[in-house]
Amino acid sequence: MFKKVLIANRGEIAVRAIRACKELEIATVAVYSEADRAALHVRVADEAYCIGPPPSSQSYLVMDRIIEVAKKSGADAIHPGYGFLAENPVFAERCEKEGITFIGPNPYAIRIMGNKTTSRVAVAEMGVPLVPGMKENLTSEQHAIEWAEKIGFPLMMKAASGGGGKGMRMVSGMEDVASAYRSAKSEALHSFGDDAVYMERYVENPRHVEIQVVGDKHGNIIYCMERECSIQRRHQKVIEEAPSVIVDDDMRRRMGEAAVNAARTVNYDSVGTVEFIVSGRTREFFFLEMNTRLQVEHPVTEMVLGIDLCKEMIRIAAGMPLSYKQEDIKIRGHAIECRIYAEDPNNKFLPTPGRITTLRVPGGPWVRDETGMYEGLDVPIYYDPILSKLVVWGGDREKCIARTLRALSEYVVKGIKTTIPFHVRVMKNEHFIKGDFDTNFIDKQFVMEDEAREKPYEDVALVAAAIKTYRRDKARAQRILGGAEQAQAISPWKLSGRVKR
């Protein structure tokens, strides 16, 4: 096993990896930008080194600095978390060359799966179903029109290097093919520096269901069941759960075997995720892509299986064989994850960096707080807005939703706005409760239903505001009158300033 692991990341995922190392009795090295000296991952690690100015291009993405710290501190492995350098094959190779173990899959797997076209070709050879469509890229408008006839409508025009919904167009008839081709191409070039696009069938009521796989360096690969990730806002997952309501045992086995086959094409030797698009209408599933990292949403799988994926990932990187056989993998109950972002759901989800002045974290049975927050933390403006994840387990989906709502009701974050109120409202939504949704649900349907919701506590809100005003006015009056007792709270120069006014 490793003696010392460097965590090349920040925030909640860095804390997660440090916790796993601590439990394995491995020493940890944190790296941090100048904006992150006070971050939780710096405080809980055994060692910590500053690697540069706030922008990640000058710190968390600088391979030389990270390798240098690893060597200086004597770390024998690097955990990349997600994002930053996690799916960069050059970094994985660089680690190998420097004699430091990259805690992740082999660089070949990262490279093949990092590209939509090469990954589709690779998995199709193993019989993994793809969305019916093209296996090459489009070469001209005429080419697009020819293929559109073969595929039929509605169809999807997609950027080869795509992600996050950019360079994607739904096309419902022949008359729109040419314009969609041009605009998708231009957006793809702008967004990814690559204008290659292709077309495939549009999957109706699309749901995003993914299979967790785990492989070791001895050729063993197993699947750890599915996660349902269809609750997305602007193509970003916001709530994930395991298992999925539309997957039954037979479908689970077929999807799991397809995922293992996909992983086998690249001798996959770490934790990874095979993403599928599933038709909510026909329950057909098709390969989307493979993520060669620990996912943000890995805890829901951990909760239903009782397996620590982050620790297993470290063990595997150290060359140890899988701790589990396929038949050991059994689902107990249901788990839900809510991603808590520094965004204001009551104000167009605007980002809200700033200081967390009050924090009360939910607790009690089967409530898991995966956080990078603490009271007093200044949330910097430079990075992704994810603050923490609330993960909840329950005996079944209904109990799990009730518990998630209960846990959310206990959460208090003051000083900055977060998406906690949004999650409360989703947990109360009848379509969500029924499991009746697809990837468009939040952006299209939920927004309207949410606007129209009842607000039972209006008068309580008005009462609170009235008392707040009264107390504020009274405190001001007393300050001006200069009562010694009240004056304690304010400074002398402020006091004189107020008196003069």
Binding site: P345, L350, P385, Y457, L462, A465
Partner: protein, 173 residues
């Protein structure tokens, strides 16, 4: 003290009386509430009203009479103003147009500045783009008019509430 509470455009006569320490009587129009009050954490109230217990999150930016109130996932924007001040404000009211002091709604970096002093803009036109937490946020002009001053500089960070620019409506007549 008599207040006017404004919620969803409706004005409600409001009175607050401190019956004893941490116990208030609040009259909202025709409705009257007796409130057992506690503030166990700053701006997080524990209210017991007729036996019902509520946790209420109250935010009031310094110098503003508009409160953001949060109760179990719901958000309420409430304005509470002294009655006499409200009457004064009504007299001075000049409508939704007028000079627009554009302030930054959040901390961030000015990623792109799309206007300069003297530019004519139309309502809804993007004035600048702020970047924070890897997201781009467009700041749009609320009115037709002319940019009369620009405080924001491209690439320079701003705090929430910092002035960005001023848009003035065309002169009347």
């Amino acid at each position: 003290m008599p207040y006017i509470t404004t919620y969803k455009g409706e004005e409600i006569k409001t009175r607050v009386e401190e019956v004893r320490p941490n116990f208030y009587r609040v009259v909202l129009g025709e409705r009257e509430y007796e409130v057992d009050f506690l503030e166990p954490q700053k701006n997080l109230y524990s209210l017991i009203i007729g036996g019902k217990s509520y946790e209420v999150d109250v935010d009031a930016p310094e110098g503003s009479d508009v409160y953001g109130v949060g109760i179990l996932g719901d958000h309420f924007e409430v304005e509470v103003v002294e009655e006499k001040k409200k009457k004064l404000a009504a007299k001075l009211a000049i409508g939704v147009s007028g000079r627009q002091d554009m302030k930054s709604p959040m901390a961030g970096n000015v990623w792109k500045l799309l206007v300069k002093e003297g530019d004519r803009v139309t309502a809804g036109e993007v004035l600048l783009i702020l970047e924070a937490m890897k997201m781009e946020n467009e700041i749009k002009s609320p009115i037709d008019g002319t940019v009369t001053s620009v405080a924001a500089k491209e690439g320079v960070p701003v705090a929430a509430g910092d002035p960005l620019c001023v848009v003035e409506p065309p002169e009347e007549g």
